[in-house]
Symmetry: C2
Subunit: 675 residues, 2 copies
C-alpha cells in the first residue's frame, strides 16, 4: 500500500457524490454568506499560533489553564482588530473550540446583566463588562446543591445600617462550585443567593459580587476562591471552573440586580410583576444547544466517515466492490456493519441541524409574540426545547463516542480528535437541566395537552395534535401501520404516523398511571422519560421531513433534495427500528412490517453509500476545526498520525528522562544482564 493510497481512496469516494456539495453546505448553514463567513473566521483561527492544535495536549493542569488565559487574551485582541459583530464573535468562539476562562463572561455574565439589571445597572456594568475591564462569571451551583435554586445556602442579608448586603456561605456545602471563569480569572461574580431582610427569606436573587482586586487580582478578605481541579476524561481542560466560599463579604445594596425584584434603601422588598419571562432565555439556550449537538455529531461523523474510507482492513468480500483495487484489503466503509453503525449517525446529524432550525424559528416567532404580550406559545416552546435538549444531546454524545469506536484502535489515540469533542461535549447531558430530570417537564406538558384535547381539541398546540386521537380509544386501539410492501416505509406520512402513534400511546399510558391515587408522581419518572424521548424523536423526524420541503422550496439542487429525503428516511426508519418494541407491544406493527423495515433500511444505506463523503464534506469543516489526524480533508491519515507522534515533546530525547532514576534501577535490581 503506497503512502498516498489513502488520499487516492478519499478523492475517489469524494468524486462519486451525486449532488452539489456546496449547495448542500448552503442548505446546512443557511446562506452562501454564512458559509463564506464561517470559512473566513475558521481560517483566521487556523493560522493563529495561539490556537494551534499541536500545542493543546499533554499539558499539566497549570499549563492548561494558562493556555486558556492566553487564548482568551488573543480572542479579545482579534475581536477588536477584526471589529467582529456579535454573531461573528460567536463563530470565532466556536472555531477556537475550547472553553476558556473568559467564555462565561461573554455567554452568561454580560447577557444576565442586561436581562436582570435595571437600565441604570445595565448602563453602569454593561460597558465595564463589554470592554472586559471587569471579568465576570455566573455563580449559581453550590457544592451541595446542584442547581436547586430553592435550597441554595448562600445568603445575602441586608444590613440597613450600612446599606449593604452581607454575602455569606452559611454552610460548608454552600460554597459555589463548578463556576466557569471563577477559578483564576473572574474579578466579579454574578451570584444567586437567598435574599434575607429582617430574618425573612425571599428566595434566590442575583447579586454582582466583587471577588478579586482590580489592582493586583488578589481575592478580597472574606472570599476564599480557587479552581475545582481537573474534569473527567480530560474535558474542559483550559477553563478554570472554580469555587468560592464567602465569609460575611459586604457589597453595596445597588449590586443586587433589580430589573424584577427590588429592595429599597429602607429595606422594603418589592415583588416582581411576573416571572414567566425568565423562561425565554432558558429556551434560547436550549434551542442553541440543539445546533451545538448537530455541530459536534457532524464533526465526529466527518472524521469517522473519512477514516473509514481510507482505512482498509481484512480481505473479506462485500457486496460493494472496489473494482479499481481488487488486490487491496477492503475499505472499512464497505462493510455492512460499519454502514449500519455510521450512516444513521450521519442522518442524525442532519436531523439535528433540521431540528435546530425548527427550534430557532419557534423561538423567534415566540419572541415577537412575547413582545406583544402574548405568552400563549411559551409553554409549548419551553416543553419542546426541554425535550429536544434531552434527546438531541444524548443522541449526539452517544453518536460521537460510537464514531470513535467505529475507528478501531486508532480511535483511542488522542489524535483521532474524538476525545477532544466528546470529553468537552458529554457534560451537556448534565448541565442546563439534567437529561433525565428534563424529561419530566416535557411529559407534564404533554399530559396537559391530553386534558386539553378532551375539552378543546382545537386548542392543542401544533406538535401535539396527535394526542387528540386518544379521545377515541376504540379507534386508537385499532390503529395499524399501513405498510404492505417495504417501499411503503419511505412515505413520510407512514413514518410520522408510527412516531405519533407511539408517543400517543405512551402519553395515554402515563395519563392512566397519573390517575392512580396510590402512585406518587416520582413513581412515573421512567414513563416520563420514555414519553419524552418518543415525543422529541417525533419532532426530530418531522423536522427532517420538513427540511426536505424547505430545500425544495428554496430552490436547492434537485439532487440535494433527493439526498435530503434519503437522510430523512434513514433517520426515521432507524429510530423506529430502535424502538420497535413500543410499536409491537400494541400490535401497531406486525412481524412482516418489521422485516420489511430492516430490508428498507439496508436499501437506503446502500443507496447512500456513494454520497457519504460528500455528505460530510458538506458540513464544511476545516481541518483545524476537526482537529483530527485521521479525518483530514486530504485523507493522509497515517502520515498525519505519524507526524503527530514523532513531534511529541517526549520523543525529542533519545533516552527518556527517567532512565537513570527508574529504568536503570529496574534493569539492574538483580544485577545487569550478561548478554
Amino acid at each position: 500500500m503506497s503512502q498516498s493510497q489513502q488520499s487516492k481512496d478519499l478523492a475517489a469516494a469524494r468524486s462519486k457524490a451525486t449532488f452539489s456539495v456546496s449547495d448542500m453546505a448552503v442548505h446546512i448553514h443557511g446562506s452562501p454568506e454564512n458559509v463564506k463567513r464561517r470559512r473566513e473566521i475558521a481560517e483566521i483561527v487556523a493560522n493563529d499560533p495561539v490556537f494551534a492544535r499541536e500545542t493543546r495536549h499533554g499539558l499539566s493542569r497549570v499549563q492548561d489553564v494558562n493556555l486558556g488565559l492566553k487564548m482568551g487574551r488573543r480572542y479579545f485582541e482579534l475581536k477588536d482588530q477584526l471589529k467582529l459583530s456579535k454573531e461573528d464573535a460567536v463563530i470565532l468562539v466556536e472555531m477556537i473550540d475550547e472553553y476558556m476562562p473568559i467564555t462565561l463572561h461573554e455567554s452568561a455574565f454580560i447577557p444576565i446583566i442586561y436581562a436582570q439589571g435595571t437600565d441604570e445597572q445595565a448602563a453602569y456594568w454593561g460597558p465595564l463588562a463589554e470592554k472586559h475591564q471587569i471579568l465576570g462569571c455566573y455563580a449559581q451551583t453550590e457544592l451541595g446543591h446542584g442547581s436547586n435554586l430553592s435550597n441554595l445556602e448562600t445568603t445575602a442579608t441586608f444590613d440597613r445600617a450600612t446599606d449593604e448586603w452581607v454575602i455569606h456561605s452559611t454552610t460548608f456545602e454552600a460554597s459555589k462550585w463548578w463556576i466557569g471563569g471563577l477559578g483564576t480569572a473572574a474579578t466579579h461574580a454574578l451570584i444567586q443567593a437567598h435574599l434575607i431582610i429582617d430574618g425573612k427569606n425571599y428566595g434566590a436573587h442575583g447579586f454582582i459580587v466583587p471577588l478579586r482586586s482590580l489592582k493586583d487580582h488578589k481575592p478580597f478578605p472574606g472570599v476564599k476562591v480557587g479552581d475545582i481541579g481537573p474534569k473527567a476524561y480530560g474535558g474542559f481542560a483550559k477553563i478554570d471552573n472554580g469555587f468560592v466560599r464567602f465569609d460575611h463579604h459586604r457589597i453595596p445594596r445597588e449590586n443586587m440586580l433589580m430589573r424584577f425584584s427590588k429592595v429599597t434603601k429602607d429595606g422594603q422588598y418589592i415583588k416582581p410583576p411576573s416571572s414567566k419571562l425568565a423562561y425565554g432565555s432558558m429556551v434560547l439556550i436550549r434551542s442553541y444547544m440543539i445546533r451545538v449537538a448537530a455541530l459536534n455529531l457532524a464533526r465526529a461523523a466527518t472524521i469517522a466517515t473519512r477514516y473509514a474510507t481510507v482505512r482498509r482492513q481484512f480481505n473479506v468480500p462485500t457486496s460493494i466492490r472496489d473494482e479499481a483495487n481488487p488486490k487491496l484489503e477492503t475499505q472499512v466503509i464497505n462493510y455492512p456493519m460499519v454502514q449500519a453503525r455510521l450512516f444513521p449517525i450521519i442522518a442524525q446529524a442532519y436531523a439535528l441541524f433540521a431540528a435546530g432550525e425548527t427550534m430557532i424559528n419557534m423561538y423567534t416567532s415566540m419572541l415577537s409574540e412575547l413582545m406583544e404580550g402574548d405568552i400563549s406559545s411559551l409553554a409549548e416552546v419551553h416543553a419542546i426545547s426541554s425535550g429536544l435538549k434531552t434527546t438531541c444531546s444524548t443522541m449526539a454524545a452517544t453518536g460521537v463516542e460510537d464514531c470513535r469506536k467505529l475507528m478501531g484502535g486508532h480511535g483511542y489515540s488522542y489524535f483521532s480528535g474524538i476525545s477532544h469533542i466528546w470529553s468537552n461535549y458529554v457534560p451537556s447531558n448534565t448541565y442546563e437541566g439534567d437529561n433525565f430530570l428534563l424529561t419530566q417537564q416535557s411529559a407534564r406538558y404533554l399530559l396537559k395537552q391530553v386534558k386539553l384535547a378532551a375539552v378543546s381539541p382545537d386548542k392543542v398546540t401544533p406538535y401535539n395534535k396527535y394526542v387528540i386521537r386518544l379521545t377515541n380509544q376504540d379507534a386508537f386501539a385499532s390503529e395499524r401501520c399501513s405498510v404492505t410492501v417495504e417501499e411503503d416505509w419511505l412515505k413520510p406520512e407512514v413514518q410520522l404516523a408510527a412516531f405519533e402513534h407511539r408517543a400517543a400511546r405512551l402519553v395515554g399510558d402515563l395519563a392512566a398511571g397519573a390517575m392512580n391515587k396510590d402512585v406518587v408522581w416520582s413513581d412515573l419518572n421512567l414513563e416520563c422519560w420514555r414519553l419524552c424521548h418518543a415525543h422529541s424523536q417525533y419532532v426530530l423526524a418531522r423536522s427532517a421531513v420538513d427540511a426536505v420541503e424547505t430545500a425544495r422550496k428554496q430552490g436547492r439542487q434537485p439532487e440535494v433534495v433527493k439526498v435530503l429525503k434519503q437522510l430523512a428516511d434513514l433517520f426515521a426508519l432507524h429510530t423506529i427500528q430502535q424502538n420497535l418494541g413500543d410499536l409491537l407491544e400494541d400490535y401497531f406493527v406486525n412481524p412482516m412490517q418489521c422485516q420489511a423495515l430492516r430490508r428498507q433500511i439496508k436499501k437506503v444505506q446502500a443507496a447512500m453509500a456513494c454520497n457519504v463523503v460528500g455528505l460530510t464534506d458538506a458540513f464544511d469543516f476545516t481541518d483545524h476545526y476537526l482537529g483530527s489526524a485521521l479525518g483530514s480533508y486530504d485523507g493522509a491519515a497515517y502520515k498525519r498520525l505519524w507526524e503527530a507522534a514523532v513531534s511529541q515533546p517526549i520523543n525529542q530525547r533519545e533516552v527518556v528522562e527517567g532512565y537513570s532514576e527508574f529504568l536503570k534501577p529496574i534493569l539492574q535490581q538483580h544485577g545487569a544482564a550478561k548478554l
Copy 2:
C-alpha cells in the same frame, strides 16, 4: 445540612442490609483467604506514596510517563521485598490500578516467550525477563494494519550468509504502533513479522528483537522508536504505548521463537504440527477479561451507590420516605428513576462476576482435556469467550459511564473517580478482538450447532442445546412465554426460556439468511451481532441463576442466597425488557406479559432498595482502590471533594501564574476600569 449528614446517611443505609456483607464478599471473591489477601495487598498499595491517588492527575505527558516508570520500579521492589507469588503479583497490579510501561513485560512478553519459545529459548530468555534484566514488549499491531496478521508489512528476511534475520518495515504503514512499553522502556520487542526465505513468504512469526542498548538505553541504528502520544479521554496516561520502524535491523537466527515453526541454519523452514493450541491463550485472556469487566463495573456501581445515598436533591416526595429526616431534601437514591438506572447495573456487576466464574471453570476443565489431547470443547469455549468478551465489556463500559451520569454535575469532576475507570477501561471494547468483529466468531459457531442439531442433536454442546428446538419449526413457532401473573417472571425457567427462544429464533433467521446464494457473509454482520449478544446474555443470565445455586450448596447465609436470587432476577428481567422487541416480534410474549414484566422489575427494585449499599460494600473495595472523593466508605463526599480541590497545585498561589501576561492585558486592553 450539617457536614456529617452525608456520613450519617451512608451509615444508616448500611445498617439496613438484611444479609451478611462479609459472607457475600466471600461468595464474590471465592474464599475468606482471597478476601483477606486482597485486603492486605490493597493496604500495602494504599500506604505507599508512589501509588498515591493525589499526585496522579494534572500532569504533563512527560510527567505522566515518568510517574509510570517510577511506579514500575516500586512494583518490582515490592514484589521482591514481599516475595509475592504470581497470583499475588497480579492482585498487586490490580490494586496499583494503572497501566505502566512495565505492564506488558509481565503480562505479554514473558508468557509468550514460554508459550512460543523452545525449551532452550525459554531457559535463556525466561530468567533474563523474570529478573527484568531485559524489558520487553509485544509488537504485533502496525500503523496501517490493526491486528490482521496475514497482512503485516514488517518482514524478517533470512540472510543465510550471516545466519541472521533482517528485520524491516517495508512500508511506512508497517511501523509497529500502539505497543505498550515500547515508547520509552523496552529493551527488547517480541515482534510479529512475515518470515521470508529465498523470496518466499511463510506468514507471521515471532522474533525477539533488541531495540535499545543495555549499556545506555540508546536505540540501535536501524531502530526508529518513540512514544505514540496521549490517548483519548486521558486514558492509559502512565503507559508509553510506542511505535518502532525498522530499517534493515539485524538479529541472530536464534531470536526467532521456534517452539512451533523452525528455521534451520541452512534456511530450511519446518512447519508446525498444529495451530489449534494457540487458541488456548486467547481464551484465557478473554476469560480473564470477564472478571475485569466485573471489577470495573462493580467499582463504578459502588461509587454511584454511595454518592446517590448521601446526595440529597430537591424535595420531591417519593414512595420511600426518609422518616428520620422529614425536613431534608430527598436522597437521590430514593427516586425511582435513579433506581431504574442504578440497580440493574449492580445486578449486571454480580452477573459479570458469575459469568467470570463460569468462564474460568470452563477454561480450567478445557485445559485438563487439552493436556490429554482432547480438543472437543475448545471450539465452544472459544466461541463463548469471544461472545462474552463482547457483551460483557460493552455492558461494563456503558454501565461505568452511566454511573457517572447518575452522579449529576460532580460526576464530571475528575475526583468522582469514574473518569479514571472508564477512560482506562473503554479501549477493552476494541482490543483483544473488536467487539463488533468478534460477534461473527460467536455467530459462526452457533450456525454450526444448528447444522449439528439436524443430524446429531446429542452432540450439540451444553450452552447451545436450545438450537435443537429449531428442528421442529411448527413447535418452535408456537412457543409462548408462560407468564400469567407477574410473579411468574421470577421463575428462572421462565426467564431462561425467554432468552433461549430469542437466541434460537435469531440463529434460525441467520441460518436462513446464510442459505441465500445472493447474500455474501458480510451482509449478515448485523444479524451476527444481534445473535451474539442474545446468546451471551443467555450465558450471563444462566450464570447468574447458577450462582444462586452454588451459593446455596456452598452453605452461604440464607439471606445471601435470597439476595443473590433478587439480583439474578433483576439481571434477567431488565435484560429481557431491554430486548422486548425481539420477543414481541414473533408473539412469544404478549402485551399483558410486557406490562407484568415492568411491574415485576419495579417490585424487585423496591425489595432491593434496603440492600444496595450492602451489596456494593460486599465487593470489598478499599477507598484507595475506588479512588473517588464521592464514593468513599465514610460517605464524606463533599468534604473530600473540597479537600481535593483546595490542595490542587494551581490553588497554591493567591494570583494565577498567567495574570501579568494574559489577564492584566485583557483587563486593561481598553484602559483600566475606574471603579
